[in-house]
Symmetry: C3
């Protein structure tokens, strides 16, 4: 596995920012690795939707310096027997509970490898859970520090797994008729609907048309390419299909449930 | 232009903190300049009010180390033909779209110089927009990294402009009768009304009295200098006139619209 | 006093994150100590409850590297004659107004020493209040920078105090019948009720039972150790008694006021 080091650690949680839980995780990183650069991705993941954290990591992590360590704590099962995982892909490391959070990354990136983090390996690093309820602080933060500091080899942490919990968010698929089916992966603060559909799946289409909640949407270039209030689809800054409303909120105008199906069909396919 | 370097970059946006958009901007800074110190100013600017970002930058930026780079992304016109600007003033650099955001700084600081950032200059730095919708990530973040790292001279980025979009927030003015007229520049979380009126404009007044929404307010020293619930004016920590309510909220007690007029008159002028 | 240095400074305030006040404090740290690592603990303390900041500092600060400097600004009395304090304990330094904020730490930690920060000592460091309303920026931020950089000895700042403002939050106590009485110190975003009761006070109990609002709660190991919707008590990740509802919100299910009494009794004491 990679020996690349960036010193960079990102945090993605459902902790919010009202309580000092995020700052406390940082204290446990800095105690072991004072030179770490710690970046908050988001602390507003819905507590019972770890898959949303995995989606955001999937679109964000490749932008970080090679060798960055991404810690995700959306962990309703903390204190139960769920495993902790290390996933390596795209020269990035991911640490999270095995509860579906990293399923999207495992299914999306062919080079992804998952390890189960073993208690014994943690013990050798001096990492022991001091609580039953805050493994983000007790285990994942200090482990991220050791990895980011280059003092611990990922492959030493435990066995490679053949499969992990897949989670409720699958990559989009294409059927034999050329129809691409994906789903709503997250809804951002502007009310835009980010889907799992990768732009590369639409590259060969000559006239892609999006179907969502009985809407028929063309794929435009920017939010401003239609009149204010109109719904549209576009390829967003992450190379994914997104449904939006010009100068408005798609979730308010169209409605949308997390995980809901979105389809794309080519209306002018090559014969 | 200045060769001062602080390694410090600030971010001011309308992105909120629910989605990872701010963390993603930081990834693009760190990939180019790992030693940057990135400071969040605020990510809660009203999306269609870039002028508010400019006001906060005007009061905040002079406090940062000389050579800091301030990135502001409130950019409803992203993907259209609006220009991107670099403004230099007070040994600070500012990067933002040309949509009124930097108008207040240009009008307030006599030493301010604006450049239009040219596509060709960006290309020479290896900066190309990879999306039509997230120029904060694709252009301004990497450019801030290059500037803060000292690898790019501001004057190499494009031509000096004679004028930029002024925006809806002008510096306060004084008429021939000595009456100072300004406006509400922002309303903070405590409900205080921060105005554009610089304390130096009131220095020669012997008995300044503030008029706002039919209130007649004296200029006191601190929030606690009148009884709880009373409205007051004071010179705030940024050297600006502010309207407040002791242990209360001015916006709730008095009401206030963004941009609304505030006046100050000397009731005991020297004869 | 300690000469340990970590370069680490934490911030705890009631400023929120909507306005740039926190970023502005950081600018004043970085201007004096560019290499500081600044960590946000929380900026959502209730403005008129400095004791809550002190409680969170008490549970968080010991996790930070030795020699860290913790700045707390919940300061409704800014601009009045209240003193500013430096407290040293557990190899950590705390800076805050003398308004009850640091009372809990002073009463909880036997090694805690408090000093009153003198205007003259600040002046020798080039620190002078430039405003009557933002001493966090004008005094505490630059002083934290000087302390964290090791350029200022804590004991040079002013006289040791025999007592400080105690605040409304006292450590839990145990009566002659063995009943432990504490109170609700804070309510987190999940609706969990964090109490002042230290787990060590319950160590000798064989069957501790918690009484709160006519509920009789057993002390379980994790949130998941009872059926969904049930109230429970547990020892949390900070070694304190906490009242929670499994997969729910204790504050919504049971109600709770800040400061309300919580008791623990041993129902099977050794004879």
């Amino acid at each position: 596995m990679s020996a690349l080091l960036s010193g960079c650690i990102t945090l993605t949680t459902d902790f919010g920012t009202r309580d000092p839980y995020v700052g406390i995780m940082k204290s446990c990183i800095l105690r072991r690795f004072a030179a770490a650069t710690v970046i908050d991705l988001t602390h507003e993941i819905a507590p019972f939707r770890p898959e949303e954290a995995g989606f955001w990591l999937g679109v964000s992590a490749p932008l970080f310096p090679a060798g960055s360590v991404h810690v995700a704590v959306v962990d309703p099962g903390v204190g139960t027997e769920r495993a902790l995982l290390l996933v390596r892909s795209q020269q990035q490391l991911f640490l999270a509970p095995d509860n579906g959070l990293l399923g999207f990354i495992m299914q999306s990136w062919p080079d992804a490898i998952a390890l189960r983090i073993e208690t014994q390996a943690l013990r050798e690093l001096g990492i022991e859970p001091r609580s039953a309820t805050f493994h983000g602080r007790d285990i994942l933060a200090p482990l991220a520090a050791e990895l980011a500091a280059g003092r611990c080899k990922p492959e030493s942490l435990g066995p490679v797994l053949v499969s992990i919990q897949p989670g409720k968010l699958a990559p989009a698929s294409c059927n034999s008729a050329g129809v691409v089916t994906g789903s709503i992966a997250t809804i951002d603060r502007y009310g835009n609907l980010l889907t799992t559909i990768d732009a590369r799946m639409l590259e060969s289409m000559r006239a892609p048309v999006v179907t969502f909640r009985n809407q028929r949407l063309e794929v435009l270039r920017t939010y401003g390419a239609t009149a204010v209030g109109n719904a549209l689809a576009l390829i967003n800054a992450f190379g994914r299909l997104e449904i939006a409303v010009a100068s408005g909120s798609a979730v308010r105008s169209l409605g949308a449930d997390w995980g809901e199906v979105v389809q794309v069909k080519d209306e002018a396919p090559l014969p």
